[in-house]
């Protein structure tokens, strides 16, 4: 079998083969996980949609498997373009996405769709309602739609969304559409996992203009005003024009194009799709997409290192517990936290060295 099963550890009481040859059930207390068998990979690379679906589930449910999975995925990725579709709740993101996907397939692309809906903070449940707006796409072998709950993700995505895109890319999709949760004002600018961002708005989204100032202008590559069949389209266009004029955007980056559409009535989508493809070619040629991908990789490395270091540091120094106590004291006495911080940081080199000595002892 070659490599050991990453998920197998002493915590798991029992492993056995399931009914299906594609995966292995691993018992972990009350819940099950569907693990990586070599056959799952075989099937995946042979193009089995079921294997693709299962790999996505693994990526969603077992973060600890993600590094191992991506080790295998990344060499197979061909650099599919990831288009983020974002905007406030109910503006027609799903309807627009469905319309764009249809056009992408017609133009010869193979498309993966990741549609994220919000997890209820109260119940932990989620109503995944995007798919039903895309029913016209179902059954087309060139399209794979996956709904996701946002779980504890930020910015309208699930923590696993970027990795699901990796799965699609390695599976052979060359366009990936990512529909975010209907996002509010604070979250509009965090769609870093996309190569191209389409911000969908609708007439009478009034106060959204306030949020736009805050940064989405820099982030969005295309503004699409959907539901242009409703009144108020003109005045929204007007406010956007005004916004671009006063925006502090560096003159080297032109203001994003603004288009209008009515997805429900299938109007304006040919133009929107064309514009997206035009932007993609432009950004590929200018190196902007490559730049974004590089930034993403850097960011990922940085956050992984941070996470790893913090994990070890916290384990060794019992930092979380200490911080809690320190914070209580600081609050009580109205003191500055910096002496404590300096003190804690000073231990880093020391503790790490200790660890190394330990290892030698045991090694």
């Amino acid at each position: 079998m070659g490599r050991p099963l990453a998920i197998y550890s002493s915590r798991h009481q029992r492993i056995y083969l399931g009914l299906d040859r594609n995966y292995i059930f691993v018992r972990t207390g009350a819940s099950i996980g569907r693990s990586l068998g070599p056959e799952l990979w075989d099937d995946f690379f042979k193009g089995s949609r079921l294997a693709c679906a299962r790999l996505i589930t693994l990526v969603e449910n077992s973060p600890e498997l993600v590094p191992e999975i991506r080790d295998k995925l990344i060499p197979r990725q061909k650099g599919a373009i990831r288009v983020g579709i974002t905007g406030p709740p109910g503006v027609g993101k799903s309807t627009v996405t469905a319309a764009l996907v249809r056009r992408a397939v017609k133009a010869g692309h193979t498309v993966g769709v990741i549609a994220v809906d919000p997890t209820s903070p109260f119940t932990g449940g989620a109503f995944l309602g995007d798919r039903v707006r895309m029913l016209s796409l179902i059954g087309d072998p060139h399209i794979f739609i996956r709904s996701q709950a946002s779980r504890d993700g930020h910015g309208g995505l699930s923590p696993s969304t970027p990795y699901v895109a990796d799965v699609f890319d390695a599976f052979g999709m060359d366009r990936i559409f990512i529909e975010t949760v209907g996002v509010g004002q604070a979250e509009l600018d965090v769609l870093t996992c996309a190569d191209l961002i389409v911000l969908v708005l609708q007439p009478a989204t009034g106060d959204i203009i306030q949020a736009l100032k805050a940064g989405i202008i820099e982030a969005a590559d295309l503004l699409l005003i959907n539901k242009s069949d409703l009144s108020g389209t003109e005045s929204l266009l007007e406010s956007l024009r005004f916004l671009f004029e006063i925006s502090a955007r560096p003159t080297t980056i032109p203001a994003p194009p603004v288009l209008t559409a009515a997805a429900l009535h299938n109007r304006g989508l040919d133009e929107a799709y064309k514009e997206i493809e035009r932007l993609i070619s432009g950004h590929v040629a200018s190196g902007r997409i490559r730049e974004k991908k590089r930034l993403r990789l850097e960011g990922e490395m940085k956050s992984s290192v941070l996470q790893d270091l913090w994990g070890r540091f916290a384990a060794l120094t019992n930092a979380p517990e200490k911080m809690r106590t320190a914070a209580e004291n600081l609050l009580e006495n109205g003191r500055s936290p910096y002496p404590f911080i300096r003190n804690l940081c000073a231990r880093i080199t020391m503790e790490v060295r200790d660890e190394r000595t330990n290892r030698k002892d045991h090694g």
Partner: protein, 544 residues
């Protein structure tokens, strides 16, 4: 004793821990009295039966003149089987017919459509061509018995088949009496049987109104239905408000098409639910008459008093009936039917005790019909007109429901009217929420359903007979349809369908074209397809 003193005694007398709101969640006082009616001008609000605003009834004599029509909704399997059931019901004393169609027919599909598999004849009778109409009404005097047809999206072409059959039997259109449900707006809202987007459907409805005004004057061209809205889970006030709002939308559409209100409004009829909450239901029915009359007279300026009348059919609430201890359903239905009668209905369907189990068996439907006869002939309820008129409680409730409906009308206006409100999911959301709340109230036992969440019989055994639809039904129907397709003049069918398609692309009244197609045995599905090629299909957006 003054009111304060009574209130004190009341509060100190040890009250039960229970939910005292109506089944719709409307909070209720323990007592109503003259104070509750102090602001009301009762003479004006009630008037006399047969007098504006008709709170007390649409006729001066009500049931002293004519009892309500006893009309059981029926249809199953093949047209032959359903024809047998009609004869059985008429023999048992039923006074009108009501056709229930199967799902493929309700959607305008033929029995041999690939997606009709497994569905033919299961929830009603299958009708594919005029031949099925011939069998369905064989030996039934269509000029004497009034016929109601529960069909909506393809209503105009089912009706065309009905008319073509009458023509073949030499019954003049002018003698035909009955009702076509033909209410597409509540389909988008509650029953979910549509073909096209709203606009072409509304055109077909207006076309039919115009055609019938000239040729089938005794026919009710539409039955604007709250029944389905309620069954989908709405509250009483939502049923009332949404139904009447639909009614106003039809009126507006017909006016925009250039019809004169007094030409079509007298043929508008309504269809309400009679649920378990006895007094609230009676109040709802009384409020419906008053609201409709006011809007028709004052807002739409109808001159003919017949245009002001909200005449309605009532059906007892299917969703109140249980699969557990089904015999109890006889009692529930009797209470609900009594509410319908005290609310002044013009016709009535009583559900059968096997409602939650299968289409009604002969035995069950006979008991349901007999229930109406007990109310009509034994209970004394039909002796006095609007016997609850003047009751503090009922009048207060009637008023409250009217106010609540008016509030909903304003909300609907804010959404831009009924069709935009449908597109935005306003009605659907309201109803889905109410349905969920009720289900949770059952789950938490805040509301009691006898035999279901309280007073449960463990080890219950079903002791009533159930109707089964044989698998041969589908085969028979598909075979007969195939034979019709071979036998008929296919050249003529093609020509008539093409003419229909052309007309649909223009603005002509489509009813005569549909009639032409029916006469040459064009099938339901062929006609639908011709129209779809022009009008397109509707795609539902589910709302929660």
């Amino acid at each position: 004793m003054d009111k304060k003193a009574w209130e004190k005694k009341f509060r100190n007398s040890g009250l039960r821990e229970a939910d005292f709101s109506t089944i719709s969640g409307r909070p209720l006082e323990p007592l109503y009295d003259w104070d509750d009616l102090a602001d009301l001008n009762l003479k004006k609000e009630l008037a006399y039966p047969g007098e504006y605003p008709y709170t007390r009834g649409v006729h001066p004599s009500m049931y002293r003149g004519k009892l309500w029509t006893m009309r059981q909704f029926a249809g199953m399997g093949t047209p032959q089987q359903t024809n047998q059931r009609y004869k059985f019901l008429l023999e048992k004393g039923q006074t009108g017919l009501s056709v229930a169609f199967d799902n493929p027919t309700l959607y305008g599909w033929d029995s041999d459509h690939a997606l009709s598999i497994g569905e033919v004849g299961r929830t009603g009778v299958a009708v594919d061509t005029m031949e099925d109409m011939e069998i369905l009404f064989d030996e039934i005097p269509l000029d004497k018995v009034s016929t109601s047809m529960t069909i909506n999206a393809p209503a105009s072409w089912i009706f065309a088949m009905f008319l073509a059959n009458a023509e073949k039997r030499h019954i003049p259109f002018a003698e035909l009496r009955g009702t076509l449900q033909n209410d597409i707006l509540k389909e988008y809202i509650a029953q979910k049987e549509w073909i096209f987007p709203p606009e072409p459907h509304l055109r077909l409805i207006t076309d039919l109104m115009a055609f019938c005004a000239d040729h089938v004057p005794q026919w009710n061209t539409i039955s604007i239905s709250g029944y389905h809205i309620r069954e989908a889970g709405s509250t009483a006030a939502q049923e009332l408000a949404f139904t009447l709002a639909d009614g106003f939308a039809y009126v507006e559409h017909a006016l925009r098409a250039g019809l004169d209100i007094d030409d079509f409004a007298p043929r508008l009829s309504f269809f309400f639910n009679a649920h378990l909450d006895f007094f609230e239901e009676i109040a709802k029915l009384r409020a419906a008459r008053r609201i409709w009359a006011r809007h028709m007279k004052e807002r739409f300026k109808a001159k003919n008093p017949r245009s002001w009348l909200c005449r309605f059919h009532v059906q007892t609430a299917g969703c109140s009936l249980t699969a557990q201890q089904p015999e109890l359903n006889i009692v529930r239905t009797a209470l609900e039917a009594l509410a319908g009668v005290l609310g002044g209905c013009q016709s009535l369907h009583t559900n059968s005790m096997d409602e939650a189990l299968a289409l009604p068996s002969e035995k069950a439907v006979e008991i349901a019909l007999r229930t109406q006869q007990v109310i009509a002939f034994e209970s004394g309820a039909a002796n006095v007109i609007d016997p609850l008129g003047g009751s503090y409680f009922v009048e207060k409730l009637t008023n409250e429901l009217e106010e609540e409906a008016e509030r909903y009308f304003r909300k609907i206006e804010e959404h831009g009217g009924v069709v935009p409100a449908i597109e935005k999911g306003f009605f659907q959301r309201e109803i889905t929420r109410a349905a969920y709340e009720y289900q949770m109230a059952l789950s938490r036992k805040r509301k009691i359903s006898v035999g279901v969440n309280e007073f449960v019989n463990e080890d219950e055994r079903l002791e009533i007979p159930l109707l089964e639809i044989d698998e041969s039904v589908e085969k028979d129907q598909v075979r007969r349809l195939g034979e019709v397709r071979k036998r008929r003049d296919n050249g003529a069918v093609r020509a008539k369908l093409e003419a229909l398609e052309k007309a649909a692309a223009g603005t002509a009244n489509l009813t005569p074209f549909l009639l032409d197609c029916a006469r040459v045995y064009g099938t339901l599905g062929e006609i639908s397809a011709a129209l779809i090629s022009v009008f397109g299909e509707y795609q539902e957006q589910p709302f929660f």
